[in-house]
Amino acid sequence: MSIFIDKKTKVLVQGITGRDGSFHARQMKSAGTKVVGGVTPGKGGASVGGIPVFNSMAEAVEKTGANTSVVYVPPAFAADAIYEAVGAGIKTVVCVTEGIPANDMMKVYPHVTKHGVRLIGPNCPGLISVGQSKVGIMPATIVKKGNVGVVSRSGTLTYEAIWALTLAGMGQTTCIGIGGDQVIGTSFIDCLEAFEADKSTKAIVMIGEIGGSDEEEAAAYIKKHVTKPVVAFIAGQAAPPGKRMGHAGAIISGGTGTAAEKIAALNKVGVPVAGSPTEIPGVLRELMSRTKKKAAGRTTTAGKKTVTRKKATPKKSATGVKKTTARARAAKPAARTRIRTRGKKTTARKKQK
């Protein structure tokens, strides 16, 4: 099983004749994705690597029965491409495009919501449901079939984390990048909810970064609704306030959105935060063995989700770990160091006069 995309996913590529669109259409196809067509207005009737090109989304959906689209069109036209996909009856839109004005997305978001369409991104690498389908630009070579769900705001950092999991023998169900912009269609919470409901996902890795409060909201959600073990990583501890760190959404503004705040919020609900992406598998393995042990030992009446999670704080369980791998042991102090070294809130926005 998986989340959001699977074997039944039939993909249309919006902007298929462009440089990125044509390259990734072929990549997706060779990764086993059912790429049923593409759209570039004025290029209808052409073909890209054996994939038929249509003039409009409406025509493409009618001819192919596609249920998903992926957007590679330039930022100035990306919002319109999303509207077109919604209008054509597409149910899942993955928007890879980086650089779409936030004002455009503020209008797109209520529109997709109203029509029950799942929008992933923009400014995201897309997603892979291992062995089933890949939509977007993630390299298919780094994933391995398994039971870990990965969700991230980043691109290459996600690859780094996935690769670390794969090297450690911990395969994945679905790996998803939700995007680095301020206004995005699918949140951490949406993914956590889906992973919690997905039977084949046994553990979750969540990769956040500075800016906004999505990680804090995710922490609150985890406390209430997620029973599966979650390990996090947060990028941007060394980032200065007030500077945009590449992603439009990665900025500490008015003293909020710092890595320290996010790490504290996650630790508070029992989610360990790895000190380096390479330490994620170790931290996760230890947490999983601990959770398993506790689940076996806990009585059914006291089996509330929150109880399980509270007990999972590193401090309390340190003595209760039965089987810990060398890797997990090595990783653990690091996770703690990170908690301790968290900095004070930086500067608040100064007086304007």
Binding site: F23, K107, I142, E209, G212, S213, R244, K350
Partner: protein, 379 residues
């Protein structure tokens, strides 16, 4: 992108928001001339992209043009939080009877523009939010429907009792909301919005930030960019289409991807070093970009070692390696460097690097440790 107060006031004035008359000066003589033209008491306000100008002595009252001239001499060239004042705004002084706050931000949580008003203006709004949150009123506007007049009026009633002033403020809020959309702002702010002895509501300060993603369709705003007020290396990076932020450390970082670039910086700190910069070369592996990136890193005199960290996914490691080799041959850096290439075509990439004797590291953590070691003591 940030614009100066005098530019933000031009934008406001064009939109019909009342602002006191005034002009920008770069010399005391110009300041004198502007103040003479206004023929009344003025404020001389430093124009730098930083808050707390007043507290730093960068905003002063001048009774007449002679006084404005003298004050401009002190303020121009003044250092405010590391920034040199090169421009001042000379603007008519108002007789203030009350100070309020009006701001609009893009709110990430609601994914809507949120209007904030407070009768406690003239001070840092975050301070008001922390100490007296009951004095802040917020409205998340439906971006499709837009701001309705009654909503602006309701907000204005939170600021004033006099119906005349309520109407003026409601009109200002409506116009400010239009500005927010029209120029693709991520923030517009009036702090303070004042009432004067003539019972007029006037914006005596103005702050505008523009969404960088929208600059392609905001040419008339982009020309307002003050290149003088920015880090030269950051300007150079923007022109080369690189994401770069200058920091104070000694480890120069070149990474593909923003999240990984941040993580690389974090690890430099974690293992005892200090990053000299954030630099994301993006998904492209063009040698030109690698050369431009290396030039910027080498232009920073604090850099004592170079850390190159590439996770090849769609980007091919051999392509990046070719770029690195070309860049090193062309620029012949005197500082040591270490490269980590992983992912697509990794072996080929490492082989290419060997031709210029560049040391490589196998993992993320190891490349960081090696870079710190190369930088030597006190990295």
């Amino acid at each position: 992108m940030k614009v100066h107060e005098y530019q933000a006031k031009e934008i406001f004035a064009d939109a019909g928001i009342p602002v006191p008359p005034g002009e920008m000066a770069t010399t005391p003589a110009e300041a004198f001339e502007i103040a003479s033209g206004l023929n009344r008491a003025v404020m001389v306000k430093s124009q730098v992209h930083v808050g707390g100008r007043g507290k730093a002595g960068g905003i002063k009252y001048a009774e007449n043009a002679e006084a404005a001239n003298v004050l401009a001499q002190t303020i121009l060239g003044m250092d405010i939080k590391g920034l040199t004042v090169k421009k001042v705004l000379v603007t008519a002084a108002e007789d203030i009877t009350s100070e309020s706050y009006v701001g609009i931000i893009l709110d990430r949580a609601t994914k809507r523009p949120v209007i904030m008003v407070s009768p406690a203006g003239g001070v840092d709004i975050e301070e008001v939010a922390a100490k007296t949150p009951e004095k802040i009123f917020k409205l998340a506007v439906d971006p499709v429907l837009g701001l309705r007049t009654y909503q602006a009026r309701d907000l204005a009633f939170k600021l004033y009792h006099d119906i005349g002033q309520v109407r003026q403020a409601a009109d200002i809020i409506m116009k400010l909301y239009d500005v927010f959309w029209k120029i693709d702002a991520s923030l517009v702010e009036i702090n303070p919005l004042i009432t004067n002895t003539a019972a007029q509501v006037v914006a005596i300060d103005a702050k505008v930030n523009i969404d960088d993603n929208a600059l392609y369709r905001q040419k008339q705003v982009e020309v307002m960019r003050d290149l003088d007020a920015e880090e030269p290396s950051e300007v150079q990076a923007r022109e080369a289409d690189l994401s770069y932020v200058k920091l104070d450390g000694s480890i120069g970082c070149m990474v593909n991807g923003a999240g990984l670039a941040m993580t690389t910086m974090d690890l430099v700190k974690r293992y005892g070093g200090e990053p000299a910069n954030f630099l994301d070369i993006g998904g492209s592996s063009s040698p030109e970009k690698v050369i431009a990136a290396l030039k910027i890193i080498l232009g920073d005199p604090n850099v004592r070692s170079i850390l190159i960290n590439i996770f090849g996914g769609i980007t091919r490691c051999d392509d990046v390696a070719t770029g690195i080799v070309r860049a090193f041959k062309e620029l012949k850096p005197a500082v040591p460097a270490v490269v980590r290439l992983t992912g697509t075509n990794e072996e080929e990439g490492i082989r290419i690097l060997k031709s210029v004797n560049l040391p490589s590291a196998d993992t993320l953590d190891n490349v960081v440790k090696k870079a710190i070691e190369l930088a030597g003591k006190d990295a």
